[in-house]
């Protein structure tokens, strides 16, 4: 009977309770959407970083990590790559020679990292082929082909077939350079990466630097989840000759942002719960104050204070639970829809590109998020019931009976 009484009490003022439930639905939808957006943004950043830039794991000469010097090459890099390919969980490995230099056209000059790659290896590890925006990938023959990003092509006023000059320091410490011909433009979601990288054949670069060595091994794994396991195996394999780092160590800022997602979502949930709590306190205060005499009658006829408290708590839980359930259902539907069609952010492409975020995001939250939000709604409702209940419970039956609102 207590449950029935509480449920009917909640809905005796339908308009007021409906407004509260609607406020909870919209509030929850906002909190879930924001969390879904933050998760989607972070996932997009990580996926793009792994796909286009860092791969799952990278190996370098420890000195290269400190100074990125040409001389800090990885001994026996190709042999090491062959060994790594045989490790369980490894999908592909690419070997790169890296040199920092200047890219110059007739129009302008930019500082870039020159990636000397073996195309076949590279496309097996990164999404270079997918990111081809115009022209073609590096050909196997022909003199000094180069791939530049579309952003740099626009800045340097380049077209397919344009000639550019790369200048850098060779292994002997002398400034050297050579003319390259643009064979293709690439465009990744990472604008910072696009600004700072060009691709040439590793053999061409080795000929110019006078260094037939590599500085970087990038490893793609069969699954993201294997990262720790394979990293441990590779550390054991390479010993002190190379440092093995995962994407989080290569991109510490991105790793820190990822780690803060839970914190961000907790703050969003806390703000929502605070607003919800005050809303329920307000509704329950109005509800119990206008029923003060009714509570007096209940107490006079033998209802204990514990039962009065239970009644008020159940009412708050019903109110919060109704809003919570409906809010979760609406949020789930909206997220399911947006998860299919995506949220377009094309107008913010420039800004999102800096962080490596796609221009279409597919908000998502894990199933456990709904459960924990619903549990939080119930806990907040429970806590919000105590203050209004206290206002009634501190009255004696005769005080409650004689009070008029």
């Amino acid at each position: 009977m207590l449950l029935r009484l509480a449920w009917r009490n909640v809905w005796r003022n339908r308009l007021r309770s409906s407004i509260m439930v609607a406020a909870m639905v919209f509030g929850l939808l906002g909190a879930v959407l924001m969390s879904g957006f933050v998760i989607a943004m972070t996932n997009s950043m990580i996926e793009n970083a792994i796909k286009y830039q860092t791969s799952h794991l990278q190996l370098h000469n420890p000195k290269f990590i400190v100074g990125e010097e040409l001389a800090a090459w990885l001994p026996e890099a190709d042999g090491l790559a062959t060994q790594i390919r045989q490790q369980p969980g490894v999908a592909a490995v690419t070997v790169r020679q890296l040199v920092d230099g200047m890219l110059a056209s007739a129009a302008s000059t930019r500082g870039v990292r020159i990636n000397g790659i073996d195309l076949e290896q590279e496309v097996a590890v990164t999404a270079l082929a997918e990111s081809l925006a115009e022209g073609g990938l590096l050909p196997a023959d022909g003199r000094n082909p180069i791939m530049v990003s579309r952003r740099n092509a626009e800045r340097l006023n380049l077209r397919i077939g344009s000639k550019v000059v790369l200048t850098f320091t060779d292994a002997g410490g002398e400034v050297t350079g050579a003319a390259f011909r643009v064979c293709g433009f690439f465009k990744t979601p990472l604008s910072g990466f696009d600004d700072a990288n060009v691709y040439v054949r590793r053999s061409d670069l080795a000929g110019l630097t006078g260094l037939d060595q590599a500085h970087e091994l990038a490893v793609r794994l069969e699954s993201d989840a294997l990262s720790d396991q394979v990293k441990t195996a590779l550390v054991a394999l390479v010993g002190a000759q190379a440092t093995v780092r995962d994407w989080g160590e290569v991109q510490p800022i991105l790793a820190a942002m990822t780690a803060s997602v839970d914190q961000t979502n907790s703050i969003l949930a806390a703000v929502f719960m605070a607003a919800l709590g005050f809303g329920i306190v307000n509704i329950m205060l109005m509800s119990v104050f206008e029923r003060t005499r009714e509570f007096g009658v209940l107490m006079a006829t033998g209802m204990t204070k514990a039962k009065v408290l239970t009644l008020i708590i159940i009412e708050a839980l019903f109110l919060g639970g109704s809003g919570g359930l409906l809010g979760m259902a609406v949020s789930w539907l909206v997220l399911a829809l947006l998860g299919r069609v995506g949220l377009p952010f094309g107008a913010m492409a420039e800004g999102l590109g800096v962080y490596g975020v796609d221009t279409v995001l597919y908000p998502e939250v894990p199933g456990s998020y709904y459960l924990s939000m619903f549990a939080l709604v119930l806990v907040t409702s429970l806590l919000a019931a105590f203050y209004p209940a206290r206002q009634i419970l501190k009255k004696s039956p005769v005080e409650a009976l004689t009070e008029r609102h």
Partner: protein, 227 residues
């Protein structure tokens, strides 16, 4: 169950410059099965007296003994249990729970006693039939007239099988015909269930039906007569 009131006093705002003595050193005894009207003008202290008899207000001094229990000495929890099991209340404004049907209103107090659903259902049906509302069981108070609501309140007061019923101006909001019907019902139940009824009233229609009339004025008993 007899009620013995001994030198009962209730002073409001006792520590202020303007204390109000609502009940002043009243002593009386009500025997089992009596049908008593406490009459007097508004502000005479009738309701305060009934509140103390019912254990919903505590006296400034004096005692209320119901059989062997001094209810003024009971703690809050014991008093709630005592009220629940021994006293029925009827209020001037009916004070039914508006979200419950007539039957649920009657059952609710029995459920507070922990009685079984079957017992609650059977007794509520019997009581509502007794008060002539057998065909209005599932109506919420808003769908009932004032007289019907007060009859539900009578059934509710009797539901927990109380030793006595306290009715605070039960006919104040009722017309003559409804008042007569309600008094008939209460008198029958008084005889059938052997329950003591104590009314506060200044309604002459109630007073003429009471078998004992206590005239109350300025917090003291002016007259106590058997009719």
């Amino acid at each position: 169950m007899s009620i013995v009131v001994d030198q009962l006093t209730r002073i409001y705002n006792p520590d202020t410059d303007f204390p109000i003595t609502a009940v002043n050193n009243v002593s009386l005894e009500v025997k089992p099965g009596e049908f008593v009207a406490v009459m007097g003008p508004s502000g005479s202290g009738k309701t305060t007296l009934l509140n103390m008899l019912g254990g919903i207000d505590r006296p400034s001094s004096g005692t209320v003994r119901i059989d062997d229990s001094d209810i003024t000495a009971l703690g809050d929890k014991e008093l709630i249990s005592f009220r629940r099991d021994n006293i029925g209340f009827i209020f001037q404004d009916f004070s039914l729970l508006p979200v419950l049907t007539a039957k649920e209103n009657v059952e609710f107090v029995m459920q507070l006693q922990g009685r079984s659903h079957v017992e609650c259902a059977t007794r509520s049906l019997q009581l509502l039939n007794d008060v002539g509302l057998g065909d209005r069981l599932n109506c919420v108070p808003g769908k009932l007239s004032g007289g019907q609501q007060q009859r539900v309140a009578v059934a509710r007061a009797l539901a927990p099988k109380p030793k006595f019923v306290l009715a605070d101006e039960p006919t104040a909001n009722l017309d003559a015909v409804t008042t007569r019907d309600l008094l008939d019902i209460m008198q029958q139940l008084n005889e059938k269930e052997g329950v003591t009824f104590i009314f506060s009233t200044h309604d002459p229609r109630v007073i003429e039906r009471a078998r004992r009339v206590i005239v109350f004025e300025d917090g003291i008993i002016k007259e106590d007569r058997v009719q």
